[in-house]
């Protein structure tokens, strides 16, 4: 459901949704809850990756884990060079863990993040999951 809001046509919406800069793109779930906020210009690849991650987020918070994993996997495989990819890799593993309670997926993704995106904050966030030894 795409909606456009131009500042000249819908100035009240900027206040209502606290859009303080343009471009701003908000993604809401079907309950009307904001799940993703993109502020500022992104390259097409980063934009698509961020939107796809947002769809993953929506599916995740609604416990639709299979759908969420597909969205995050899409980001990792199609937009692996995007800024969203390390986060998607992290959340793909969290999604799988949430669905299966298999904790080994967390240590695996920690290694994968350390190898693939070592300077990413997501690699740092996964450090506690690294296997000892």
């Amino acid at each position: 459901m795409p909606v456009e809001a131009h500042i000249k046509e819908h100035p009240a919406w900027f206040h209502r949704f606290e859009a303080v800069w343009t471009p701003t793109v908000l993604l809401f779930d079907s309950d009307g809850k904001e799940r993703s906020r993109l502020e500022g210009y992104l390259t097409n690849t980063d934009f698509m990756a961020a939107l796809t991650s947002g769809l993953g987020r929506i599916a995740f918070v609604h416990k639709k884990y299979a759908d969420a994993e597909r969205w995050y996997d899409d980001v990792v495989t199609r937009f692996g060079q995007s800024h969203s990819a390390p986060g998607a890799m992290y959340w793909r593993a969290v999604t799988r863990y949430s669905a299966t309670h298999d904790h080994t997926v967390l240590s695996k993704v920690a290694e994968e993040l350390r190898t693939t995106y070592p300077s990413s904050v997501w690699a740092s966030k996964a450090i506690p999951w690294l296997s000892k030894g």
Binding site: M1, P2, V3, E4, I7, T24, S30, G32
Partner: protein, 43 residues
């Protein structure tokens, strides 16, 4: 808007709404997401 530019590059038609509350209602009915794109770009 960037969404429009990307859609054009992907040869996709985007049916933009200008009524956010109507979009929220339709999204709830169809279990879909809503994308709200704020712009100040010249038309």
């Amino acid at each position: 808007m960037q969404s429009t530019i990307i859609a054009q590059e992907m040869n996709m038609a985007v049916n933009w709404s200008k009524d956010v509350d109507q979009a929220f209602a339709a999204a709830k009915e169809r279990d879909r997401a809503v994308l709200l794109d704020f712009s100040a770009a010249p038309a």
